[in-house]
């Protein structure tokens, strides 16, 4: 008994306990965490039946009506959804921005709450309330069919002032922000341009034609991969370069100077 008690007071016991606790929490999280829904928006664009609309209405009543109102006509905390179209629903729900988790300056992207079928049903219901932009076809958003050079020119004049020169994201006023675009699917990029979610302006087909939208998607598709010059340092420009110059460059050089000085004395 005494030996057991003594061992319990081993110096290493807290560390071992902590590791075990971390392992347990991690394991539990892995078991219970919701699996991220793989969004394949092509399915969402499938033709909607009256059953879909009815199912979508039921989902809407259960998940969205609290803020957007029972008839989707909006309340003082959320806008009306009549006429926003299927594209808006596919973007907002398909990127996890809706249902909104908490009030804040902006609804951030988060793990998607519904499966593809449910998203399609919700989209079908909202589309049935009034005419609005539809979900684009796979061909409309195919980066391989776009011209990245034209996309870059368009991106520079229309998008880069908020999203950074290569779409790495940037700050807006009051805690809002333009997100990084590298992980966004081509369909969601197209829908965002079409519907102008949150702080983003609407770029309808008269401002940026469908072909031009595809050019922009082709340009973004090339970003965020391997940079020709090595690590891209977040593509954030001179601030991150300066930070690394000080941390790595001057840090290493001073360490070497100290080392050289230590050798001689």
């Amino acid at each position: 008994m005494k030996a057991l008690a003594a061992r319990r007071h081993d110096r290493r016991a807290p560390v071992v306990l902590l590791l075990l606790a971390l392992l347990l929490t991690g394991g539990l999280y892995a078991v219970f965490a919701p699996a991220p829904a793989g969004a394949t928006p092509e399915q969402a664009a499938a033709t909607a039946t009256t059953d879909d609309i009815a199912a979508g209405k039921a989902l809407f009543q259960a998940n969205c009506a609290t803020c957007h109102g029972p008839t989707a006509s909006g309340t003082d905390v959320a806008p009306s959804l009549i006429g926003v179209g299927a594209a808006a629903v596919d973007f907002q729900v398909g990127t996890g921005r809706m249902p909104m988790q908490a009030n804040g300056p902006q609804a951030p992207a988060k793990p998607v709450q519904f499966n593809d079928e449910q998203i399609a049903q919700l989209a079908a219901y909202v589309a049935s309330l009034g005419t609005g932009p539809a979900i684009p076809s796979a061909e409309q958003v195919d980066p391989a069919l776009g011209d990245p050079a034209n996309g870059m020119a368009l991106f520079r004049t229309n998008c880069a002032m908020c999203h950074n020169a290569v779409g790495a994201g940037g700050a807006l006023s009051g805690g809002k922000f333009a997100p990084n675009l590298w992980e966004t699917t081509p369909t969601h990029l197209y829908e965002a341009m079409l519907t102008g979610p949150q702080s983003m302006p609407v770029f309808n087909d008269a401002i940026i034609t469908p072909d031009e939208k595809r050019d922009i998607i082709a340009f973004i598709d090339q970003q965020g991969g391997a940079a020709p010059g090595g690590l891209d340092l977040g593509s954030l420009g001179p601030v991150s370069e300066g930070l690394w110059a000080w941390v790595v460059g001057i840090g290493l050089l001073i360490a070497l100077a100290v080392w050289g000085g230590a050798k001689s004395s």
Partner: protein
């Protein structure tokens, strides 16, 4: 075993013959002899200036490579090359040749990245070197002129960096030029004329890139080279400063001879600096101009910032409220640009350039100084330097406010307001805290010298009294803590002489005394030999009286406890370099 003296090898004979040939024609032997026997003190912080020198050499070498391929022209062309996002796009020759240099010239991108990283390291090492010189007081007589030379080198470095940054003619650097144009136009009366003069007409014009090219590859590097030469000549002439220690004084230099010790190390250091820069250039992308695209005055992307050494200006502009602009008659006075872009850097740089002269004025000291100060022993200077750096740092952070906002999920408006307040509060706070820390460290030094190291050994006397045994410092340790001179505020002559006649220059003297009090009123004086003798003689009991010693304002009297100390016997025969006469 072969004999070496009588039969020199062929190579050795050739070398000596060449040396002799050169010496007979140039007298180079004297120079070699002089430098070979020249002694330099040794410390890692003396290598910081060398880092700057070697990154400049790296800049020269890589820069020469770049000029072979760069076309300094604003003539229009269409890109046709391996980078798909820019194919067929209209751009200037400068931008197009930068792309060719990056993607088609073998090793070109590596050279560009070496050049740019070396530029960032060059500026950073100048700043670090300058900090070392500042905080150790290496700028004091006779080195004030060399401080100014170094300061001008800093400004030239900024000019070199900015002109080079703008050469590729991409959107990001074009935005920087646009801001420069705005700042130039904000100068009252001559602003718009100056802008037209610089750009050869309306911004951006067609003249700027060739002009910047000349500035960047000829004018500024030429001046930098000349001034580096002057900087080094003055350094050799003054002899290098050394850190305080036993055996070191203002009259000697303790160190190693240049040959062979330093020559080998200098050479090695170049390869270290070049190696670190090349490693960075080989692994980390810098200034990817193809991301920004060719310059066009309309687009400005998020995260548009200058290189780090200009970031404080960007920060000042971002912090300044936009409303500070008013119109007199038909003239606009844009204080919202004049204050952040001219007044703020003007204040920072003027203080930096003139500091040696301000301090000399406040100290009233006309002697030469070759032994460095420990930063703690000059609390005002150290605190002043830290607060100046703090102001610079706040401005740098303000220039990065958008990235702080996105990376820490904060509101950019709140961040901007916080920095507006911090710009005034943080330097002051940094000053007060640094000064307290310095004075605290000095007090700790006094305490150590008087009472020695705590040993943790508790001894109980027969009477029942407990005391802790202290181990006195050895002579070298003690010398380091008492060698400095306590500078006291200047005392001036009265306003009127004995006959009641007003004295000329009294007002100036009063101002000088006030400044001197600001510098030296709060101080902790080093232990004097008599104090030490008193403390050691009766190491027990009454050292409150000893510590209160020299007249200082409420600072030296913080005697820790009144307990008794027993002092271990120790060897006092060790060499003691003190030449202390009080």
């Amino acid at each position: 075993m072969t004999t070496t003296t009588s039969t020199p090898t062929g190579a050795a004979r050739a070398a000596s013959a060449t040396a002799d040939y050169l010496d007979q024609r140039t007298g180079i032997g004297h120079a070699v002899k002089y430098f070979a026997r020249k002694v330099f003190p040794d410390h890692w912080s003396f290598m910081l200036g060398e880092i700057a020198l070697y990154s400049f050499v790296t800049l020269l070498i890589s820069g020469v490579f770049l000029t072979m391929f760069f076309v300094p022209s604003m003539g229009e062309t269409h890109y046709d090359g391996p980078w798909p996002s820019l194919n067929g796009v209209e751009m200037s020759e400068a931008f197009s040749s930068t792309l060719r240099l990056s993607f088609e010239v073998r090793g070109g991108l590596l050279m560009r990245q070496i050049h740019h990283w070396a530029a960032l390291i060059f500026m950073a090492s100048i700043v670090v070197h300058m900090m070392r010189v500042f905080f150790t007081g290496a700028f004091r007589k006779p080195r004030e002129i060399n401080w100014v030379v170094g300061f001008v080198l800093l400004i030239l470095g900024l000019a070199a960096g900015f002109s080079g940054y703008s050469l590729p003619d991409d959107v990001l650097s074009g935005n920087g030029l646009r801001i420069t144009d705005g700042v130039v136009r904000a100068i009252p009366i001559i602003g718009s004329y100056t802008s037209y003069f610089i750009f050869g007409g309306e911004f951006p014009g067609h003249d700027l890139i060739p002009r910047l090219f000349t500035v960047h590859i000829l004018l500024v590097p030429g001046l930098i080279l000349a001034l580096i030469g002057l900087h080094l000549v003055l350094m050799v002439m003054h002899k290098h400063t050394q850190y305080p220690g036993s055996g070191r004084s203002d009259k000697n230099v303790v160190g190693y001879p240049a040959l062979p010790v330093y020559v080998a190390r200098l050479g090695g250091n170049f390869f270290l600096v070049f190696g670190v820069i090349a490693l960075m250039a080989g692994t980390m992308s810098i200034n990817p101009v193809w991301n920004y695209g060719p310059y066009d005055p309309s687009p400005v992307s998020a995260g548009a910032q200058p290189d780090w050494y200009m970031l404080f200006l960007e920060g000042a502009l971002r912090l300044m409220p936009g409303g500070a602009e008013f119109v007199i008659g038909q003239y606009t006075v844009p204080l919202n640009v004049i204050i952040p872009a001219m007044v703020v850097p003007g204040i920072l740089f003027t203080l930096l350039a003139l500091y040696p002269f301000i301090e000399a004025f406040a100290t009233g000291d006309d002697r030469e100084h070759h032994v460095l100060d420990r930063p703690r022993n000059r609390p005002f200077r150290t605190a002043f330097g830290v607060s100046l750096l703090m102001a610079f740092f706040i401005l740098v952070l303000a220039g990065s406010n958008d990235l702080i906002a996105t990376h820490f999920h904060m509101s950019i408006n709140d961040i901007t307001w916080a920095f507006r307040v911090l710009l005034f509060v943080a330097p002051w706070l940094a000053f007060v805290i640094t000064k307290r820390i310095c004075l605290g460290l000095q007090r700790k030094d006094r305490e150590l010298v008087l009472h020695g190291h705590e040993t943790g050994r508790i001894v109980r006397f027969a009477s029942g009294e407990y005391i802790e045994v202290h181990k006195p410092l050895d002579a070298h340790e003690r010398w380091l803590r008492v060698q400095h001179e306590a500078i006291r505020p200047l005392e001036i002559e009265p306003a009127e002489d004995s006959r009641g006649v007003r004295r000329k220059g009294y007002r100036r003297d009063t101002m000088r005394r006030r400044l001197s009090e600001l510098f030296y009123e709060d101080r902790v004086e080093p232990v004097t030999p008599s104090e030490l003798a008193a403390a050691q003689a009766h190491g027990h009991g009454s050292h409150d009286a000893v510590e209160a010693g020299p007249a200082t304002r409420e600072l030296a009297s913080s005697a820790p406890g009144g307990g008794q100390h027993l002092v271990d016997p120790h060897d006092e025969t060790a060499a003691d370099g003190r030449n202390h006469t009080v």
